[in-house]
């Protein structure tokens, strides 16, 4: 099961805007880019030397927020009613 299939098991109400935003310059210069391995939904991807974030599969755990010490992350929860909804939990 790859991550896409895994996340497809969950129920999401996907917003039309991202709840987490990255600051390209800071991410590009970040030496560790720990968000790439720390995100349990693999939302962060390395693209052309910088980091991109796909918010749709986010599990809203906050791991990226804890490991990002470069200030490149503007972290928030999805807006009211959006994001993941666990049916078991």
């Amino acid at each position: 099961m790859n991550m896409e299939e895994r996340l497809a098991l969950n129920k999401y109400d996907v917003d039309n805007q991202a709840h987490i935003r990255l600051e390209d310059g800071k991410c590009r210069e970040c030496s560790h880019k720990a968000c790439l391995i720390i995100c349990p939904a693999e939302c962060f991807k390395l693209r052309e030397g910088t980091v991109s974030f796909a918010y749709e599969g986010c599990l809203e755990c906050g791991s990226c927020r804890v490991v990002c010490n470069e200030g490149g992350l503007d972290w928030s929860y999805p807006r009211s009613g959006f994001g993941v909804s666990y049916e078991y939990g």
Partner: protein, 427 residues
């Protein structure tokens, strides 16, 4: 704002629901705000719920509560790369351990319904975006773009508490004091679960794993039996994932594929994948828990006990919810919601098992950072057991000789003594 609430509670988890339920029952005007579309929809747990606190809130516990299975078998397993050795506490037919497996989407939803039935207003699908502050005093929240006023706000919005942070009371989260849990819920028929876990119909097992099998990272695995599914997951310190350049999902996959784990979940269907953070730094990461017009409860205040045996949070969350409700009740009688009045909350927690446990196990976090716990010792225990049970046609050695042989190259006698003393002191 003259139509203000007596209390606004942010977050309908165990801490928030406990506080909201008790205050609503007292007749206070209570608003419980939950960002998920239903309570529990943003939550997940390992997880076992233990009875002592919930039974004080609901005296008919465990009746009428959506619990999965009473845990009659507690197992602690040392996991090396290819084998496992378990300590199996089997109390079949009794509920001696007082623990129940739960699924949060059911449990939290039920709890929020109790708040509603007690007269509280529960607003789900509503994100609390900001605090309203007047002269450094919390006077309400902003949610869905609207201001809502209250005498007191209880921030029970979890490990990433934005409310506490906005009031300057946020937990100091850092990679060394936060663990990431990832979990799959795997569907299996009840009879299959009962056969595989050797439990009576309706009863359940909790299995904790020290070591995740392949890597010596700071973390462990778990299996809990639900009614018609198994919760399987790993919990790993963020710092360890960063240092070893590992993804938790890869650890979960290797854990699920371990020869001692694989047969237990075989032919099951994964129906959900979830992730959550656990604040594991205890008192060392705990912020002040009150300010003018606000209290912080549950994970938002880092009220989780990490002892190495388990990560226990729900009980501490509910106990803090009880203390918060009691504090608000008394503040209301005094008509004083200032910090000087609300600080009684911290005193109440200090006097309860919440702070006493967290204080008592304060050095556990340091002890649990010892990499030998996750590789050398599981390997040692498994190696020992294999040697002791092995019959190879050679003259047999006495146990102590086997121990000496297995220690070699893994743990020095000096390390063993040092770790033993640290364990005695810490956990």
């Amino acid at each position: 704002m003259d139509d203000k609430f007596d209390a606004i509670i942010v977050g309908a988890g165990p801490a928030g629901c406990t506080a909201a339920y008790l205050l609503a029952k007292e007749g206070l005007e209570v608003l419980l705000v939950e960002r998920g579309n239903y309570a529990g929809s943003k939550n997940m747990t390992g997880g076992v719920l233990y009875g002592p606190v919930l039974s004080r809130v609901f005296p008919d516990f465990p009746l009428n509560i959506p619990l999965e299975r009473p845990i009659s078998r507690h197992v602690l397993t040392f996991l090396s790369a290819s084998s496992a050795v378990s300590l199996d506490a089997n109390a079949a037919g009794t509920e001696i351990h007082n623990g129940y497996s739960i699924l949060r989407a059911k449990f939290d939803r039920w709890f929020a319904k109790q708040v509603e039935d007690a007269g509280g207003i529960v607003a789900t699908g509503l994100l609390a975006e900001d605090l309203v502050m007047v002269d450094n005093r919390v006077t309400g929240i902003v949610a869905g773009g609207d201001e809502m006023g209250a005498e007191v706000v209880i921030a029970a919005d979890g490990v990433n508490s934005l409310m506490a942070q906005k009031a300057g009371l946020g937990v100091r989260l850092a990679p060394h004091n936060v663990n990431q849990g990832v979990k799959e819920v795997i569907k299996l028929p009840p009879e299959v679960i009962e056969d595989r876990f050797n439990v009576a119909p309706g009863e359940g097992a909790a299995v904790h794993y020290l070591g995740i099998g392949t890597e010596g990272v700071h973390g462990g695995g778990f299996l809990y039996t639900n009614k018609e599914s198994i919760s399987v997951g790993v919990v790993v310190q963020l710092k360890a994932l960063m240092e070893h350049n590992l993804r938790a999902i890869d650890l979960l996959e290797s854990f699920k594929g371990h020869p001692a784990v694989k047969p237990l979940i075989k032919s099951g269907t994964t129906v959900e994948y979830s992730a959550h953070l656990v604040p594991a730094g205890g008192r060392d990461m705990m912020p002040r828990l009150c300010t003018d017009g606000m209290l912080v409860a549950g994970d938002a205040g880092a009220m989780v006990l990490a002892t190495g045996r388990a990560l226990e949070g729900i009980n501490y969350a509910m106990a803090s919810g009880m203390a918060a409700a009691e504090t608000v009740k008394q503040a209301r009688q005094k008509g004083d919601y200032s910090r000087q009045s609300l600080v009684q909350y911290e005193a109440m927690l200090a006097d309860s098992f919440v702070f006493k446990d967290l204080e008592n196990f304060r050095s556990a976090a340091g002890f649990l950072d010892n990499p030998r716990l996750y590789r050398a010792y599981p390997d040692l225990v498994c190696g020992l057991a294999n040697k002791i049970f092995e019959v190879d046609g050679q003259p047999k050695k006495k146990v102590w000789q086997v121990v000496r042989g297995e220690l070699k190259g893994r743990v020095s006698l000096w390390q063993l003594i040092k770790d033993g003393l640290a364990a005695r002191k810490s956990v």
